[in-house]
């Protein structure tokens, strides 16, 4: 059996705080960076940026459509706008504005979305968007990034300033384990192989990356060698990393805090069906809305928790 890396938990923090720190950092480095927020400055952790650069912060009120249009217009004027609101209001509410004024017009706008998925928790299904990755990845010109922890969200926030084009950056509300290094360079479109293994490939994004690491450790106890890939960039997808791993393992589990339709799993399946048809199991929300509850309770109830990744790996191994 291959030697498996173990991960030291460096602490626990919310990924949105990584965004807040990253925004402040990149704003110090790049004077063209501006920030827009739709009445959720505290929730998005944009206060530090706002206080440091008040003239570059734009409070737009509860008017997300206008925020996207303003950002597109500022991009014409040479700015690099970062918009901040919840993932639901960052995508579903403003899909047409993003489609026409940002994606089709190829504007350098960074749509930064917090409180994505079920882990938004108690506010319930009205706010728990599980379709946003799908909506955003379907747009031509759009880059879609879902980092896994505080450190990576911070690095991704910094990295996207150098990409001249529209970006959707998705992160979340609850405090979750930090396990990537603070100084790890973030490369857009290049997957991170976190654990090497031979029996099954687990490809995950966002909060499900840590769950997948936990699952791989559990699988190791069962004598199963799992490879864990952090697919932080959903689009453009690192097809090579997928195919390389699958050539070795012959089966795949995808894991995401998103609807199984249209998310990471679908993107991976498309690569496999075209290049190397491979048994795949999906860990994701199965065609249902969420509900109120604590993040951990919801992950368990909607079958996107560590045991679900373990079970999916066991199931897909039988289909090899």
């Amino acid at each position: 059996m291959t030697e498996v890396a173990t991960f030291e938990v460096l602490g626990k923090k919310d990924t949105r705080s990584g965004f807040g720190e990253g925004l402040l950092e990149i704003a110090k480095q790049n004077k063209e960076v501006v920030g827009l927020c739709a009445d959720l400055t505290g929730s998005l952790k944009m206060d530090a940026f706002k206080n440091a650069f008040p003239e570059r912060f734009f409070q737009v009120g509860i008017a997300e459509a206008n925020m996207i249009g303003l950002a597109a217009g500022m991009a014409v004027g040479g700015k690099i706008p970062y918009t901040g609101t919840f993932a639901n209001f960052s995508t579903g509410r403003v899909y047409d504005q993003i489609r026409q004024s940002v994606a089709y017009s190829k504007k350098n706008v960074k749509i930064c979305a917090s409180h994505a998925g079920l882990t938004l928790g108690e506010d319930g299904a009205t706010h728990q968007i599980l379709e946003d990755i799908g909506m955003m990845k379907m747009l031509p010109n759009m880059t879609v990034i879902v980092p896994c922890d505080f450190n990576q969200t911070k690095q991704a926030t910094i990295a996207i300033a150098d990409l001249n084009g529209p970006v959707y950056l998705r992160f979340g509300r609850p405090a979750v384990p930090i396990f990537t290094q603070p100084d790890a360079h973030f490369t857009i479109g290049k997957a991170d192989v976190l654990m090497e293994g031979n029996d099954v490939t687990i490809i995950a994004c966002g909060h499900l990356v840590w769950k997948s690491i936990e699952a791989a450790e559990e699988l190791r106890n069962q004598g199963i060698s799992a490879e864990v890939i952090n697919m932080h960039t959903i689009k453009p997808l690192d097809e090579e990393a997928i195919l390389r791993s699958v050539a070795k393992t012959g089966c795949v589990v995808t894991a995401e805090e998103h609807m199984i339709y249209g998310g990471l799993g679908d993107s991976v399946a498309q690569v496999l069906s075209r290049n190397n048809p491979t048994p795949q199991e999906y860990v994701g929300v199965n065609d249902t809305f969420g509900e109120s509850g604590k993040p951990d309770e919801l992950m368990a109830k909607y079958n996107i928790d560590t045991p679900n990744v373990v079970a999916a790996a066991q199931a897909v191994l039988k289909r090899k």
Partner: protein, 280 residues
């Protein structure tokens, strides 16, 4: 520029519109004809811009956004006649692989266009965003935008209106093409805007009015608008126009909002419009 010269240009622009829409057998002639005088005035006299060196950012230049993108024929004609791209290219309007898409777009890199439009209600936000970027850049030029009156039924317009006044975005001059007609009929019958002048005033805008077919009046109102920039309030001009202006059978009805004339109808229209600068 002499008023008579502006009229000569506008007449040619109207011929271009009719020929483009006729040749494509699709497009929106009514609103295009109605805004021919205004856009001629804007591009040939009012705006400080550089047709020969178009760049996306347009620093130190006045910028224009067409929010009601369906009247692209008039914009394309005025852009070409100003020198942004060859006049001959007008013949490709709405045809496969053209840079002159049915609604304006940036992806084929047509000089003069900075933002896609067509899905209504988005251009005012974009104009205000660019105006704020100009302020950050220490650039004192002006951002102009044009909107349909029917377009004001979109909620995003009023989000933008509220924002611009609250944030004193006073380097934007929006114009409303108030022709009173939309696809389904008269605006009053489809969804009345109520007292439009008072609505903009209540939203905190400086409101001016003008006749969109009177060059001299437009010249003075646009000068007044320009003089009012930098005073802490965004500016809107409610511009009365006639849909289909210049082609008798297209006036007084909403029916030519989005219908192309037949070859015979094109001829009938061209007979009413003097060829002043040479057809493309």
């Amino acid at each position: 520029m002499e008023t008579s010269e502006l009229h000569r240009i506008a007449s040619q622009v109207r011929r271009d519109i009719v020929r483009m829409v006729g040749s494509a057998s699709s497009g929106h002639p009514g609103g295009s004809l109605g805004c021919a005088d205004f856009l001629t005035m804007l591009y040939f006299e009012t705006m400080n811009h550089d047709p020969n060196n178009f760049n996306m950012e347009g620093r130190e230049e006045d910028i224009f956004y067409l929010s009601n993108g369906h009247i692209s024929p008039v914009w394309y004609s005025v852009l070409a006649r100003s020198g942004y791209f060859p006049v001959d290219e007008l013949g490709t309007f709405r045809k496969l692989s053209t840079r002159l898409q049915g609604h304006p777009s940036t992806d084929k890199k047509l000089p003069g266009v900075r933002m896609a439009s067509g899905s209504l209600g988005q251009g005012l936000s974009c104009a205000i965003g660019t105006a704020q970027a100009k302020k950050l850049n220490g650039d004192n030029s002006i951002v102009y935008s044009l909107h349909g009156d029917g377009e004001l039924q979109e909620g995003q317009i009023w989000e933008a209106a509220m924002y611009a006044a609250a944030n004193k975005v006073d380097n934007v001059i929006a114009t409303i093409d108030y022709n009173g007609r939309q696809i389904d009929g008269d605006l009053e019958d489809v969804l009345s805007l109520g007292n439009l002048h008072q609505k903009w005033q209540a939203f905190g805008w400086e409101v001016l009015e003008m006749n969109g077919h009177n060059m001299d009046e437009m010249r003075s109102v646009l000068a007044e608008a320009k003089a009012k920039t930098g005073n802490g309030k965004p500016i809107v001009i409610v511009m009365k126009t006639e849909m289909g202006q210049g082609v008798d059978y297209m006036m007084g009805t909403h029916k030519w909002h989005g219908n192309a004339p037949s070859p015979e109808q094109v001829d009938a229209a061209l007979a009413q419009l003097e060829e002043t600068l040479g057809d493309y």
